[in-house]
């Protein structure tokens, strides 16, 4: 039985195809014009990788910003549930997921079945998200991917106190004008972003193990700062953090399939 998960986000679209309890294909593409197009494209690429065609999919679940409009998805789940389930599927010991994506940042606490028991999402302000990192890293002329590595060289991170990512930029500019080292500013940026996440994370009762997902989890600087500030060690996940959402959707689809089968058996 083939279950598929499709995550149409703000920048990229992701698809995961599962056969029973094994991932057989996953794909990430950049967004096309409409969410429907992106979903179709990413799904057909993933299907090609798995050597399948559209009619093979028994059940598909969608998530992400465009989740409501995917024609071939039979159900949709919120990103929060999908991230939780995806991380839980990858490692059954995970009880808290910190997901820092492009536009938002969520801290999710899970129950023993991988379902959401409590969550918090940034609503006041977008400082502490991938987008603010992107803006700030461009400001100091360091590519986003290298921000983490660059910041590790620093001994004295500059303090960045402002809460708003746009006005953080002014502060960063000021430090640049003063001639502070790029590494120090990069470290300051990472620390500031991590701090915003920590403020959010403390609202939730966090339990071990904690996993970090989303694009920002690739930034070693933010991750280390988070570990230091929260005094935890993140549980490394065996899958690409970017497809966690689609993976969670696929798991939901697979679960739904199982339910349907059980119902058939019962009948």
């Amino acid at each position: 039985m083939i279950a598929a998960g499709c995550d149409v986000g703000s920048l990229t679209a992701k698809a995961v195809i599962m056969d029973e309890d094994a991932v057989i294909a996953s794909k990430i593409i950049r967004d096309l014009k409409t969410p429907v197009e992106s979903a179709r494209a990413v799904m057909s690429e993933a299907l090609r990788e798995a050597g399948l065609v559209f009619p093979n999919i028994n059940f598909c679940c969608s998530t992400g910003y465009g989740r409501h409009s995917i024609p071939f998805a039979l159900m949709n789940m919120s990103e929060i549930s999908c991230h939780a389930m995806g991380a839980f599927w990858a490692d059954r010991s995970v009880r808290t997921v910190i997901d820092i994506g492009g536009q938002d940042c969520k801290v999710i606490s899970l129950d023993a079945g991988g379902m959401v028991s409590d969550f918090i999402m940034n609503d006041k302000c977008a400082a502490g998200t991938g987008r603010s990192l992107e803006i700030l890293s461009r400001c100091i002329g360091v590519p986003l991917e290298k921000l983490g590595a660059v910041s590790l060289k620093s001994w004295r991170p500059v303090p960045i106190t402002n809460k708003c990512s746009i006005f953080m930029e002014l502060e960063v500019l000021q430090h640049m004008y003063k001639g502070r080292k790029t590494a120090d500013i990069a470290a300051g940026i990472n620390e500031a972003v991590a701090k915003r996440v920590v403020t959010l994370a403390r609202t939730i009762d966090m339990r071990d193990e904690v996993a970090i997902t989303g694009g920002v989890s690739k930034n070693i600087g933010v991750v280390r700062n988070l570990e230091r500030l929260l005094d935890i060690r993140f549980k490394p996940l065996p899958v690409d953090p970017q497809i966690i959402g689609a993976l969670g959707a696929a798991v939901f689809a697979a679960n739904e399939l199982k339910k349907l089968r059980n119902a058939e058996v019962a009948v």
């Binding site: 106190t161 009762d205 966090m206 339990r207 071990d208 929260l230």
Partner: protein
Amino acid sequence: MNVRINLRAKTVFELKEYRIVRYLYYVLIRGYYLALLLLPYGVISLVARYVLHPFIFNKETRFNKYIRSALLWMGGGLHKAADYRAHLPIMRIILDYLRHHVEPIKNRKKPLIYLGWCVSPEFMRAFDVHYIIPEAFSVTGSWLGRDVSNHMLEVLESEGGSIESCSASKFAAGAYFTRQMPDPDLIVTSSHPCDSGVSFYPTLQNVTRVPMYVLDTPYGDDEDSYRYFAGNLKAMISFIEKNTGQKIDWDRLRRSCEELNKTNFYLQELTAMTRAIPSPVSSQQLTVAWAMKLMGSGSPHLTEMARIMYENAKKRLDRGQGWLREERIRVIWWDVPIAFVSLYPWIEKEFGAMIVGGDLMGRCNTPYVDTSSEESMMLSLAKVHLNASMVRNVRGTQELFMDEFEQIIAEYSGDCFIFVGHNGCKHGWGYGRIKKDICKRIGLPALHMSSDYSDSRNTSEESLKKQISDFFIGNGLA
């Protein structure tokens, strides 16, 4: 499966219990005895003023953050040599106030009351109870360094408190959640000055689960309103009597009211003297006096402080001498950002600018307390409450606020007007147009900044300074 672990306990955010109070208290006691010892020689005042001043006030750095609070208490650069004597009573006031924190921590003998911001503490003196003003933490705490206040605000925000509220309430809540103050037996608060207090105290009550009395503030400014408020004060007295078992000592109340009258006389004179050009009173002195009045209203030390400040200022006035060697700009400043301690010395030094009028201590128009009978005392104390700075400005119609504003502009001959829009002060933002129109009508250059009372994450000190200097230069004042 892992056991449920609360990770909160391990975060570096954790501040030790009662850290702020203990630190302040013990540093202050040492400073006090040192000052007593060295005062006759005038040594510290010299050292503080000329040697340490540059380290203390110019910038917020890691080095001076730790030593500043200690030196601040020794009067580091706050006063001139003559005014330095006023620092001893100041230290006594703060010590007396901090004792209300420290004694209940050690061994609670008397009941402890949380007292709302703007509820003046004379009654607590008459009851012989301990009292803590939670919001005063935003004043005392910020002396310990700006990261302390940021820390408190962050704690509160991560507890889920209201982010948009006044940072004084937020600071207080943060201080409670990090256990900087002992649990109370009673809460007495008021529904003034603004929504932040109105909405924050029920939370304190919810977490502490103690009885709370709310002094309801009337909107009007007539005799009926005063009578209503006096009635509320009476109800408050019986509430405290019922819940603590302590009886009010009317004689003590009378004594502290008389003390208050004396203080007010000096303070009124002091603020009136800022009308002189050049002004013989420093803006820092006024702010310190305001903070002290918050903590020690009705204390003889407050009178002592006010008297010394007054006498010195009077001498300067008679000589025609100003506080600054050269006073170039006279600023009327509404809503001073208290946590930015280094802002005043900076504008004084950099631009020769003096803050001559403002809403906190600009025009001290506290009514006289008529101590002839219990009845009259209650009524005039109601007037005192409803006319305290910050309360009279915002509890009623705009005329109460704007008339005073126009009067200050007329009387204090300011060259410009600076208004700091605090994030939490919805009133100030709501007045925007009216205020600007007044400035326009009078032709006073006005700067309206967006900042926060004690939150440097909102607007940093550098940005404030840049805005101010741009304003001064742009208007040809500096």
